[in-house]
Amino acid sequence: MNLKDLSIKRKLMLITMLTSGLAVVLSSAGFLIYDLISFRQSLSQDLMTQAEIIGYNSAAAMAFKDESAATVTLSALQAKDDIVSAVLYTREGKIFTQYVHAKAARRDFPSPPQARGYRFEGSYLEVFRDVTLNGEPVGTLFLQSDMRQWNSRAKRYATIFLSFVLISGFFALIVSSKLQKLISGPILHLEDTMRMVSATKSYEVRATRFYGDEIGRLIDGFNTMLSEIQQRDTALHHANDELQTRTLELEGEIVHRKEMQKELLDAKHAAEDANRAKSAFLANMSHELRTPLNAIIGYSEMLEEETHELGKVESVKDLQKIQKAGKHLLSLINDVLDLSKIEAGRMGLHLETFEISPMIEEMVATLRPALSKNCNTVQVHLAEQLGVMRADITKVRQILFNLLSNACKFTDHGTISVDVNRGSDQGEEWIRFQVTDSGIGINAKQKANLFQEFTQADVSIARKYGGTGLGLAISYRYARLMKGRISVESEPGQGSVFTVHLPAKVTAEITGATPAEKANDVPAASPGMKSNLDTILVIDDDSTVRDLMSRFLTKLGFHVVAAASGEEGLRLAKQVNPLVVTLDVIMPDCDGWAVLNKLKADPELAEIPVIMVTVVDNESMGFELGASSYMIKPVDRDRLAILIEKHRLTRSSAVMDAQAFAASRRDASPKKDGGRVKRTATRNDRKTAAPIK
């Protein structure tokens, strides 16, 4: 392990130990060296003193060349263990006598004697000294000491030093291990705390501050940081909780909204259904009312002719009254039907281009008897070069007819004038029809409800002048349908001016339809235009049926696209927009009923007639879901050919005149038409017991 990566505790101890160890070693070594040097000094002084004594003692023997005496003197050195050898030299430098310690090995002596004084030679201390007698040199003395004392002293010192270092080191270890906790303790505690915080993510933990030193301040800082984080964490938690609560609330809200939306949608569908039911009821009702009326008018006309031939004039008049009442009733029924159709957005426009002037003149001519009935004068002012307009001529006629008959009705001995001119406004050409009368006029309050259905200016008016009050309402709606408008200016007793503005070129877009019906209805002409009138989509999971149908229909000149499943059929229907779809019922996954449902629910596909071709005998289910025809397998090919040809004719006529098509779909979509016809058929099947097979 790297030294630097040691724990603080160890580092601290190591530093302490090294520092104290170094101090002990250095100081002890200094002392030791000093002691050993001074000891050597004193040793050499000692030896010098010995040499002086021995020289003094042997001086006489030297002077008298008494060798034995000198040897005795030297032998006295035996008491001294450290002196290894001693030599006395003559003045000439020759060895006079010598001494060697008994325990020492014999050795050679330096000859002649060297410089006076002491020196260290190897592990020996040597001294040369002159031997003098009365100030006269007589010889030289050599002493050699083996420094035994110094060595043993040095050894002792070394032992003491070592044990001292060891003991002091041991104590230093104990002390430092105790004291390092002062520093490492708080740091380790801080580390523990940090580890705990990061492990538990709990910011409530605080590190304990032990001392006021830097670490203490560090811990303070750490605690401050923690509490700050804790605050933020708490705030974050609060925010998070709030967010969750809000999210839950929002989710609840969304669920609530969705429920509401669903309820609204259901309500809307219910309303639309109700509206459709109303329209259907009105249409059926008017049909049912017309049938007996047909008989009433027809028979009374017949009777009138017969009685006329028989010459019974009174009866003729009565019969004419019946006829008149019948025809009035018929016109009322027609008005109600028209209005219901407009309301349901099913009133279409049959646009054609026509000359305006002849139309007006023709109309005034037919109305002239009625116009002059109350002794009124009629004036027609047609602007020059009125030219042509493109509109639904029947509806333009009916608007003008309503306005003119009202004018006649409410004017007596007055003037009725018709003004027609052409103008342009905001880049669009308009035709303005104005019907002015000098009749009874209408007041402001009556004006407000004038174009509302079933409201006449006054209840008394109905009694006096008759009428349903639907004429103006229908006219108003017709004008709106053609993107035009009707306005009225009138003062009671001052007559009225009705002005109709119609675009010179009416476009096929239906303005009278409510958004609901628009959404529900088939979009304007375009999908029909794109329809492949020679393509038939065969949806059947049985490959034999697909093959047979394809062969048969191809022979008839149609292009056949076959689908083996409901899903594929739906996809292909969108892709090719076929003339007719033949649809099997029993198929895996998505059965024929489901396919039919989806086809009829898609505004782009709803208009495609669907012929059910199946073994399932449930015709009413088929028609309920919007099928055009129902065929039981095995297929009657002739009937299938007839049915397809019928649809081809219907739809090709639609394509030929897009406007008429747009109008026609609203009057009687293929689905509704087929449904109606077939419902009649089924009803009669039961009666005649001759079902289609």
Partner: protein, 125 residues
Amino acid sequence: MPKILLIEDNEMNMDMLSRRLERKGYCVVTAHDGEEGHLMAHSESPDIILMDISLPVMDGWEVTRLLKANEATRHIPIIALTAHALVTDRAKAFEVGCDDYDTKPVEFGRLSEKIENLLLVRKSS
């Protein structure tokens, strides 16, 4: 005496219309549904056919289409009669091959004019 085939499922309308036509001097044969009408157009060889559109078994459009597709009956003029004065019915009537078209309740004067016209056209051709 021109022979008229009246195909109509409503008894009262049929009675009324046939009697009035007879009074006008036509010979009237009647059929109650599309299939019967179709058969009678072949068997009776009428000079003109008055065809109601909402018919049981086979509707007026289908009968008209069949008759107009057949060489033997193609020449017989057909006047379609519908209960609703719808733009589509009118367009459809001419598309499937009707020679004329009128709405119910019929205005007898107008209808007899149309019959006369078609008979004249046929006679002249």
